[in-house]
């Protein structure tokens, strides 16, 4: 799989660190709501289809970015801003 790093261009997946579902909204710093944190940390939509996710170009520019990918096909939709 080739991952399009927004800064370095298309690179092999082996240069990246995966960071999981990026569609989840991280509770604001300071939120003490246990359920909000539980759902954020532990529950996943895990869709078979379009997925937005974090990747870090760890053997490259070290930038984290959001990527659209289809989990049913591994087709890359592109970087999401």
């Amino acid at each position: 799989m080739m991952i399009p790093c927004p800064h370095c261009g298309d690179r092999d997946v082996s240069e990246f660190r995966y960071g999981g579902d990026a569609s989840k909204q991280r509770p604001a710093h300071g939120t003490g709501d246990l359920k909000a944190w539980h759902d954020y940390v532990f529950l996943f939509e895990n869709p078979k289809g379009p997925h937005t996710e974090y990747w870090q170009h760890v053997l490259g520019c070290r930038r984290w970015f959001k990527l659209a990918r289809n989990t049913a096909t591994n087709e890359i939709g592109g970087v999401v801003s």
Partner: protein, 419 residues
Amino acid sequence: MSKHYSALALARHALDPGMPWPKAWESPEPKSSYDVVIVGGGGHGLATAYYLAKNHGITNVAVIERSYIGSGNVGRNTTLIRSNYMIGGNTAFFEHSLKLWEGLSHDLNFNCMVSQRGQIVLAISPVQMDVFARRGNIMRLNGIDAELLDAGEVRKLLPYLDYSKDARWPIHGAIMQPRAGTVRHDAVAWGYARAASALGVHIIENCEVTGFVINDGKVSGVETPRGRINAGKVGIAVAGHTSHVASMAGLKLPVESHILQAFVTEPIKPIVDHVVSWGAELFYLSQSDKGGLVFGGHIDGFNTYTQRGQFNRIQTVAECAVSLMPFISRLRLLRHWGGIQDMTPDGSPFICRTPVKNLYLNGGWCYQGFKATPASGWTYAHTIAHDQEHELVRDFALDRFEKGRELDEFGLGNWTYKQ
């Protein structure tokens, strides 16, 4: 026709080539209603149906499978069985599973080739030996076999490893479970299907469950392209696709679907007589009875439903194989394939009731689905029959993350994709 399998039956059929064997399992048309519908005709679903009938006398059961039975991970794994678990909620469950494996061929009258050849886990540092010792001690304290091996003992058992000074990590010793081993994986699906079918269970292939019938928080059936099938109780056993199926019942789970690859070389004469695992990186290898070296490593590391693995992971695993066992370099990879597995944040599974009444969940197996098959079926059947979790799976609960009761067997932290 010989319904019972034996050497004698085989001889009778050999002498009378015209005599047909009966079908291993029947494929009836689905009825409009069952006491229990199991969604998923994999190892766990079929085992559950078998134990529902055998242990609980519930025979009005249908197993509904989207494709052919055993099309999922029961036919895609590396066939290992073991019970080297050290976390309280895991040890007894997996040992129960190993005990069931030990009698399974007899129980099912189907030779699953349960080969207790022993698993050897190699340590690459003294610290790792301590970590292994903790595991081995817990096993011993729970009546499970475990032995520490020093480097010399390992060399006697596994003379083909790299003991040279070129080895990136030296072998410090190992922990061995002699009763661990391998099982012919497809036979498990077929054996359970045949035995369940003989007890009256309906096995319905090529029939996808497309929805649940839920009223007032209670499930009463499933929708399929072949019509609605009513059910007193419904059990989900579709590891790999648990999120998708559970979402049809409105559930959102601590599960992500990831691909785990597996590999087999061309068949060769016997050379690796144990299951060998390595502490440098996740890597495990055994030789099938057919002669191929079967091995695997980590998940690819990002969620996907494609059964196609990434080549960099294939390289990683080949590097492990050749570095640990340099003779493998000259052998050839015959096939590699992928299975989609449920990954949970703590690497442990679920066997439990769900917030929907009469709907039960079995999933989240991570790397350990195959070895768990008999105990999973056994305890899931109990859970469904009694509407109460079996005592062996009390910790495999959905709410454990909310409660802070993670079952982190390997100490990898809460990351589905790092387990």
